[in-house]
Amino acid sequence: MKLDVDLEKRFGSFHWSAGFSVEGERVGVFGPSGSGKSTLMHMLAGLLKPDSGSIYLDGEPLFDVGRRVNLSPQKRRIGVVFQQAHLFPHLGVERNLLFGYNRLPKEERKVDPAALVPVLGLEPLMGRSVTTLSGGERQRVALGRTLLSSPRLILMDEPLTGLDAERKYQIIPYLKKVFAEFGIPLLFISHSLNEMRLMTEQVLELTQGKLSAQISADALALRRMGSTPDGFTNLMELRAPQVNDGLASCRWGEQEVILSGVNDPTAGMYALSSKDITLFKRHPEATSARNLFRCKVVRLFAAGRRTGVELDCQGQRLVSQVVADAARDLELVAGGDVVAVIKASAFRRLY
């Protein structure tokens, strides 16, 4: 997908005015509440008419004031998952799901309802009216409805809020698989940096209607490390799980990682907070921590009042954080050696 946007829109005191050009299959939109994320989405989908400017998708004009082009939403074939579900109250769950699907010629139907329904956990709802669904159930039906309409681009406005963590991390890999398999590009709005990093490659950051950054999700997460108490989340792809004596071990690159607290360890994506990595100058003797990695310091960077430490653990990248004092005590310098100690319980399985 190549999206070229340059738009102006005024609402009272709010003024959207930004242009950007992105290429990529999974683009995120990030920004504080009221920064114009939903406004952008509505303009792209053709639901809100910009004051001026243009929108080009893969070179095709969807909107262009100069050329007097303004395709109607159903001509644009851009699927939208709204911030609120907006289900059709007069149709049941099933007919809501199939609304777009049924309007597609057979050969353009890419996503199979029978495969999608179990992933979204919708089986028990199939005969139900949508007016009595719970908040999370509504959100899942809305997500399914848009996916099944097999659009040429999907815009999602915080589609995963209201879902419990378990369901969320079950849905994310499926979504990614579907998008990849059928080549449906994605524009993803979220306040969760973690979701953003899992779902997108590139992020547009908005501030008060202006584009303030266009960077990778990881870079964005690093930049924001200092301002949240959660630190930076290292995403680690672990493989080949084995269980010994109630303790799971997995391969992480060339190394072995011991993890606990995962009932049934499987290969997949795990999260590790930068706060959970303790650095030692030398190998400590006996410790309760199960993982000790010898690493090289790649670089140090400021992250609020703390110092971020980017590490290279035999080819794998890890980000840790230490207080300024510690950086001095440990004599951390780029290129120096250090031991990263991680407790087995610090890993969180995502999917």
Binding site: A45, V80, F88, F99, G100, R103, T146
Partner: protein, 229 residues
């Protein structure tokens, strides 16, 4: 209680027939007129709105005269129709037309109110899911106006049952042919001792209308129960 004459029974049947036909025939027009008024940006919208509401403002007798001018054998439309062998005036069809015209503003206003309360977001959702406007009209707007359509239809039906002024002018007051309940009541009041029978016909009219009203409420309650939370 009341001993109705054969022509009274005919009047009741005819009233029912006229009210039902008028309601059924008006619904699609009313729906479409409301759609135009609510969802489109026609240039002459205000004028159109005015014309739709005209029959409400004018006394029904005047509406009857205007219809007579239009549909009479010497009228522009009536002349053409009678050339085609279609006779409107003094037939029950004229009574249907009178009821349709007089009740139309009520119908349109009901449907409009319903349409105006449809969440615009749903219409947007339908369009992003690939439904063109006519599809959205039939699969989203129509069902979501259901309650208002029903209310409008009930209104129309009830109004038709009571329609007198326009009907007597273009359909005439011919017992057994165009004499509906209100016209029969009118005749009874010209007959010594006819008041009792007039009252009886009133009661029939009220019963019919109440039945439709209760039916309407019943359907609405069922719709609502479906959506209870």
């Amino acid at each position: 209680m009341f001993e109705f004459s054969p022509s009274d029974w005919q009047a009741m049947l005819l009233s029912l027939q006229v009210a039902l036909s008028a309601t059924a025939l008006s619904l699609p027009f009313g729906f479409f007129a409301a759609y135009l008024l609510v969802f489109t940006r026609l240039p002459g919208k205000a004028l159109f709105d005015g014309i739709v509401n005209l029959p409400l403002v004018l006394p029904p007798v005047v509406v009857g005269y205007l219809l007579l001018l239009l549909l009479g054998n010497r009228g522009p439309l009536g002349g053409w129709l009678s050339a085609m062998g279609i006779q409107i005036i003094f037939t029950w069809k004229a009574a249907v037309i009178a009821s349709m015209v007089v009740g139309f503003p009520l119908l349109v206003r009901s449907i409009r109110l319903g349409m105006e309360s449809i969440d615009e977001k749903l219409i947007q959702a339908a369009s992003t899911l690939g439904a063109p406007w006519y599809d959205t009209l039939m699969t989203v707007i129509l069902p979501l106006s259901g309650r208002a359509l029903l209310a409008g239809a009930t209104l129309m039906f009830a109004r038709s049952l009571g329609e007198f002024g326009a009907t007597i002018i273009i359909a005439g007051n011919i017992p057994g042919v165009t004499q509906t309940i209100p016209l029969a009541i009118y005749d009874y009041t010209s007959t010594p001792g006819g008041d009792r029978m007039a009252l009886g016909l009133c009661a029939v009219s009220v019963t019919l209308a109440l039945a439709v009203l209760l039916f309407n409420e019943g359907v609405i309650n069922r719709i609502r129960k479906r959506g209870e939370r």
